[in-house]
């Protein structure tokens, strides 16, 4: 029979190690965030390299009001996430529930707004015709992510499509049309039709990858913070110190997610 070890308890899961001043999970999450910095750092560097090498770079393609709103949503959540941790430090579990729930709701709000922004892009179209016109605008009925190939492959392809060109706008170099009136375009005349997805050009590719990866991090945050708010909060009754640490670590992660957005907003929306 095997001998039994003197202890199987891993030290410093709750109380900090005196010489480092950290408990394990706190060091772990800092290391994880360091690696995240490298991940987003590489993507930002790619963005810079591609933009510097591009002959022209589309600007003001995104809704600044929605972006600003989302920025405020995240800033508010950065307050509530700290309040939740402070409530636990003050041994006030009810207030923790309130603030942690607020954070999760704000995160969900952020994703919802982001979803609307994405939807706008996938119902916004670029069209090229044989006579050399290049237009941007919306299709009748706002179909989602249509393409010429998909339109032609449909069981009963329409003969023509109704197109509402964008009104001309500063910075919108692609909109060559002067009027905002609806156009009827014959399908056979169209050489290109695509929504503003990542295939639309390097700017949109960068936009979708950076914000998409950030959105995945927000969803991850909703899951983790939501777990601590819901079923995970049972630990408060058995191991309050450890639970407080968990909430702190979740908060550190959440602050990183906000920080990424603070860089994303100006680089993609404003610059």
């Amino acid at each position: 029979m095997q001998a039994t070890a003197h202890s199987m308890t891993i030290p410093h899961t709750v109380e900090p190690r005196p010489d480092t001043g950290l408990y394990n999970a706190k060091l772990g999450v800092w290391l994880f965030l360091a690696s995240e910095v490298m991940l987003f750092g590489a993507l930002f560097s790619s963005y810079i390299l591609l933009r510097v090498g591009a002959p022209e770079w589309p600007q003001r393609q995104l809704s600044i009001p929605l972006g600003t709103l989302n920025t405020f949503v995240l800033i508010l959540s950065s307050i509530s996430v700290v309040m939740a941790w402070m409530a636990l430090k003050g041994r006030d579990f009810a207030r923790f529930k309130l603030w942690q729930g607020t954070t999760v709701l704000l995160a969900v709000l952020f994703i919802t707004i982001k979803g609307f922004e994405y939807h706008d892009k996938f119902t916004h179209y670029y069209v090229q015709t044989q006579d050399g016109r290049a237009l941007t605008g919306h299709l009748d009925g706002d179909p989602f992510n249509l393409s010429l190939a998909r339109l032609r492959a449909s069981p009963s392809p329409p003969k023509e499509i109704v197109f509402h060109p964008d009104p001309p706008r500063a910075g919108h170099t692609e909109a060559a049309n002067a009027h905002g009136e609806a156009l009827k375009l014959e399908l056979s005349q169209i050489t290109k039709l695509e929504a503003f997805g990542p295939w639309r050009g390097t700017f949109f590719a960068v936009y979708f990858v950076l914000t998409g990866l950030h959105a995945l991090h927000v969803i991850g945050g909703i899951i983790v913070l939501g777990y601590f708010w819901g079923p995970g909060s049972r630990m408060w009754r058995t191991e309050p110190e450890r639970f407080t640490n968990r909430v702190e670590v979740g908060g550190l992660y959440w602050h990183f997610v906000e920080l990424v957005w603070i860089f994303l907003f100006p680089t993609l929306y404003l610059l």
């Binding site: 095997q2 001998a3 039994t4 070890a5 003197h6 202890s7 199987m8 308890t9 891993i10 030290p11 410093h12 709750v14 109380e15 190690r17 480092t20 950290l22 394990n24 999970a25 060091l27 772990g28 290391l31 994880f32 360091a34 690696s35 995240e36 490298m38 991940l39 987003f40 750092g41 590489a42 993507l43 790619s46 390299l49 591609l50 090498g53 591009a54 997805g197 990542p198 295939w199 639309r200 050009g201 390097t202 949109f204 590719a205 979708f208 990858v209 990866l213």
Partner: protein, 600 residues
């Protein structure tokens, strides 16, 4: 924490088979899982290369025995009449590199040795995050399965080299939407996640869980090597993950991160928005892949240091120099990546910068090699199997390192770039270098893991044959490369050498292909004694009489054999440095780290 929860661990019911051997959270079980899986992948990686070597030695001839197997498994597109197709050759080449680096060597060096030894050597009951540790292994396992599955999908596995350069990687298989490259990228995301979990765990464990008295300068050098390695993995892998996500978008979503404007494929302009940068992929890839080289070599150096100190029966020469050099390598390894890109036209100024940093990083590497060699000076050396492998590591890594210098200079690299010289160079570092060190480690710690010794005689046979055939495989490749033989030619350069203006030397170099291939197959055969020894010793090997059969000083030998869950019978306290091989009392020439008494 009170006493009740301390002793709670001892009252747990014995975990069942699944929790004990499959989904275990014990770092030792996970280490063994990593080790066995990695050895299987090592064999698969070797097998791919062994088949490629047939095509290089006898281009266009059906592969004996295995040709029919390839034909029946992969179909006539890949191996018509048992002849390796160019696509299959490219797939095997790409996957040989991928499997060897990401699924065999790193998991063996970091996943197996790091997991098993780090907590033992620092006197910890387990890793800091045992559940993450288990997850790290299973995520690695899934990544490996994805890579293997990619061989059997239509179009076959990734075929653009282990470097997966864009735009080739995006356009290599236009007939299939989900192609081998897509699965390669998905597999890599799993492997990167696994390495992230593992490196966070190793760093946290070393910083937080060192036993009482285990100061930084009392850590065994292996622990230092694992610490630096983990930092490299932590910080260098994410840029490759970023690159992988971008390439995945190029392949699946039609973006153009790495696809330049005006790309023509198969005579037709590619319908993409363009504006991307192929160089960007190379920068992101090499930002990982050069530090990765040090991930491959640092744990090997750590193992060699442990084995050398133990078998010379003296302290490591210049322990502090070793530690500082390893740390310096860790830092500088992030500044050398573009020396893989001298011929991309990125400009001479940038080349000069990276040439300088590359020469700088050779300094700490040479310091490590020198201190390890000076450790031998005046030692009473025991020539057992682990020691033989560790000793062979020194000149083999030396050859690999020194032949890297001409590649690091941007001028000489013009001649040598992408030739067999490069293959010979990095294989000397990794194959007779790192793999020999890993063998040394397996023979050395086998008795701690199993309680039995491996057979010495067959170990020495394994060593001697491996040493001979390793050199017969890779030494001639230097000649081939200097003659200008390109590394990625399907027929080993036969069509090229048949041209009218080919130098006499190249046609001679071509003839070496046959000899190299035979040496490579014999190298495989030379591993049989190891495989048999490994399993035979498990049941019939000589039982160890003490927990410390090598009379070593470090803490892993202070545990029972094999160590129980939780490792130490009593809380280990460290009183001295890691290598106190001094006469303690008559007949005893060492003082373990946990011994309080001063040597008499």
């Amino acid at each position: 924490m009170d006493n009740a929860s301390h002793s709670a661990g001892n009252h747990h019911p014995e975990p069942g088979f699944w929790r004990r051997y499959v989904f275990s959270v014990d770092h030792k079980v996970i280490g063994v899982q990593y080790g066995l899986t990695a050895l299987v992948f090592l064999f698969i990686g070797y097998g791919l290369m062994a088949l490629m070597r047939w095509q290089l030695a006898y281009p266009g001839k059906p592969i004996p025995i295995f040709g029919q197997l390839l034909l029946s498994v992969l179909g006539p597109d890949m191996a018509e009449k048992g002849i390796m197709s160019p696509d299959l050759y490219n797939s095997f080449g790409a996957m040989h590199g991928t499997i060897m680096v990401f699924l065999a060597i790193v998991p063996l060096a970091v996943g197996a040795f790091g997991n098993y030894l780090v907590p033992l050597q620092i006197g910890a009951p387990d890793m800091a995050f045992p559940k993450l540790n288990m997850m790290s292994y299973w995520v690695y396992f899934v990544g490996g399965v994805v890579m293997l599955v990619s061989f059997f999908i239509p179009g076959g596995a990734a075929k653009s080299g282990w470097t997966s350069y864009s735009p080739l990687a995006t356009v290599a298989d236009p007939a299939h939407h989900i192609d081998g490259q897509t699965l390669w990228l998905i597999g890599m995301v799993f492997l990167i996640t696994s390495s992230l979990l593992g490196s966070v765990n190793i760093i946290t464990t070393i910083i937080q869980l060192r036993a009482k008295g285990m100061g930084w300068m009392r850590l065994p050098f292996l622990v230092w090597a694992q610490l630096v390695t983990a930092f490299i993995l932590l910080l260098a892998f994410p840029p490759l993950e970023a690159a992988g996500v971008l390439q995945l978008c190029d392949n699946l979503l039609g973006s153009s991160f790495f696809l330049p404007t005006g790309l023509v494929v198969g005579g037709k302009p590619l319908e993409v928005s363009g504006g991307g940068s192929p160089l960007l992929w190379q920068h992101l890839f090499w930002f990982l892949a050069h530090p990765e080289v040090y991930v491959l070599i640092l744990p090997a150096m750590g193992i060699v240091a442990e084995v050398l100190a133990n078998n010379t029966r003296k302290r490591l020469f210049g322990y502090k120099s070793l530690v500082y050099s390893a740390a310096a390598i860790g830092f500088i390894s992030f500044l050398v990546w573009a020396h893989h890109m001298y011929l991309t036209g990125m400009g001479t100024k940038i080349s000069t910068f990276f040439q300088t940093t590359t020469m700088l990083i050779s300094i700490p590497s040479v310091i490590i090699l020198t201190t390890l060699m000076l450790t031998l000076w005046g030692g009473s050396i025991r020539f057992n199997t682990p020691m033989l492998f560790a000793l062979a590591f020194l000149p083999m890594f030396g050859i690999g390192g020194l032949t890297g210098l001409p590649l690091g200079f941007s001028a000489t690299d013009i001649q040598l770039h992408d030739t067999y010289y490069v293959i010979a160079h990095f294989h000397y570092v990794v194959a007779p270098g790192t793999i020999f060190a890993l063998f040394a480690g397996i023979y050395y710690w086998y008795p701690k893991v199993t309680g039995r010794m491996m057979n010495e005689f067959w170990g020495k046979v394994h060593f001697a044959l491996s040493l001979v055939f390793m050199n017969l495989v890779f030494m001639p490749m230097f000649v081939q490369g200097l003659e200008g033989m390109h590394r990625r030619m399907y027929d080993g350069g036969a069509t090229y050498a048949a041209g009218p203006d080919v130098a006499y030397g190249l046609s001679l170099a071509l003839k070496l292909n046959v000899g190299i291939s035979h040496a490579a197959w014999l190298l495989g055969a030379a591993q049989l004694p190891f495989v048999i020894n490994f399993f035979w010793s498990l049941f019939r090997g000589q039982k160890v009489e003490s927990d410390n059969p090598w009379q070593a000083t470090t803490l892993e030998w202070a545990t029972p054999t094999p160590p129980p869950h939780g490792n130490f019978l009593e809380e280990p306290v460290v009183y001295r440095g890691p290598y106190e091989y001094t006469p303690a009392k008559p007949g005893v020439d060492f003082v373990p780290q946990h011994c309080q008494q001063q040597p008499a």
